[in-house]
């Protein structure tokens, strides 16, 4: 039984970095589930969005977010998910996922290092995984 279930939504290159944190997260009792696959968002404690979110993808993300249980947190991993990043003037890119739903942590970096995700999650859940 994991301490924390993460619904990982890989939408672009930052996902390579967040997935590289998987083994370090597993040691902390954090389980990474694929948010665009078969995993059920209803069992997740936190959703991590890694990568550039296009307007074409926004509806899917909203749908996944709507299926999260009440009180689930959201982490924007990387510059694109946080603010649009280098695509700040692109008409096709969502300028940060907080325009779609509330976000609890913004992780800076293009991409951030893998352990930045570990730090963001231990900070956000300092009463569970952060305690270890």
């Amino acid at each position: 039984m994991p301490l924390l279930r993460v619904l990982h939504v890989p939408v672009a290159c930052c996902a390579l970095e967040s997935l590289a944190a998987a083994s370090a997260l597993a040691e902390l009792g954090v389980e990474l589930a694929d948010g665009l696959g078969e995993s059920d968002p209803a069992s997740a404690d936190v959703m991590v969005v890694s990568g550039t979110v296009t307007h074409a993808m926004a509806a899917t993300l909203r749908e996944v977010h709507a299926r999260l249980p009440d009180g689930a947190r959201v982490v924007a991993f990387g510059a694109c998910a946080s603010t649009g990043g280098p695509y700040w003037d692109s008409p096709t890119v969502v300028q940060g996922i907080q325009s779609l739903f509330p976000v609890d942590r913004f992780v800076p970096g293009c991409p951030p290092r893998p352990h930045a995700l570990v730090e963001a999650l231990t900070d956000l859940f300092d009463d569970t995984v952060g305690r270890r």
Partner: protein, 142 residues
């Protein structure tokens, strides 16, 4: 070593001198020339400055106009950490520091202002990582 650190350093610790964590500013070196602002591919640097006139030092001399830095903001929410600003600064007012910028609860907090950028300590030489206490902008200038 925590699992987080193990993940970071699984291929051996990265030499501190090569680490690109986040950006720091030495405000006293900045002349508000705006070169970094224009070269930044993300346009994530914002500078505010004003000009001051220094009176002529002698009766035959001329008054000089100098730019004075008021505010220097790097929006880490947009920054690609490409280092172009560090490379192009003719006055070495920007520098890399080893520690990464932390995650924040709002995008506004990702905008690192002059005070925050200047408060980051310059990178210690390799092997003295962590021994940053006591470093000041004054020492960085040497």
């Amino acid at each position: 070593m925590s699992p987080a650190e193990a993940a970071e350093t699984s291929a051996g610790p990265l030499p501190a001198a090569r680490r690109r964590g986040t950006l720091a500013l030495i405000p006293d070196k900045c002349t508000s020339c705006m070169i970094c602002v224009r070269e930044c591919p993300d346009w994530c640097i914002h500078i505010e400055s004003h000009t001051e006139t220094i009176p002529a030092p002698t009766p035959r001399g001329r008054a000089r106009t100098v730019a004075v830095l008021d505010e220097f903001v790097i929006d880490m929410g947009h920054c690609q950490h490409c280092g172009i600003c560090v490379e192009v600064c003719p006055f070495d007012a920007l520098a890399w520091v080893a520690q990464a910028a932390p995650a924040e609860a709002s995008t506004a907090a990702l905008r690192h202002d002059r005070e925050r950028l200047a408060g980051l300590l310059p990178q210690p030489p390799r092997g003295t990582e962590g021994a940053t206490a006591g470093n000041t902008a004054e020492e960085a200038r040497r």
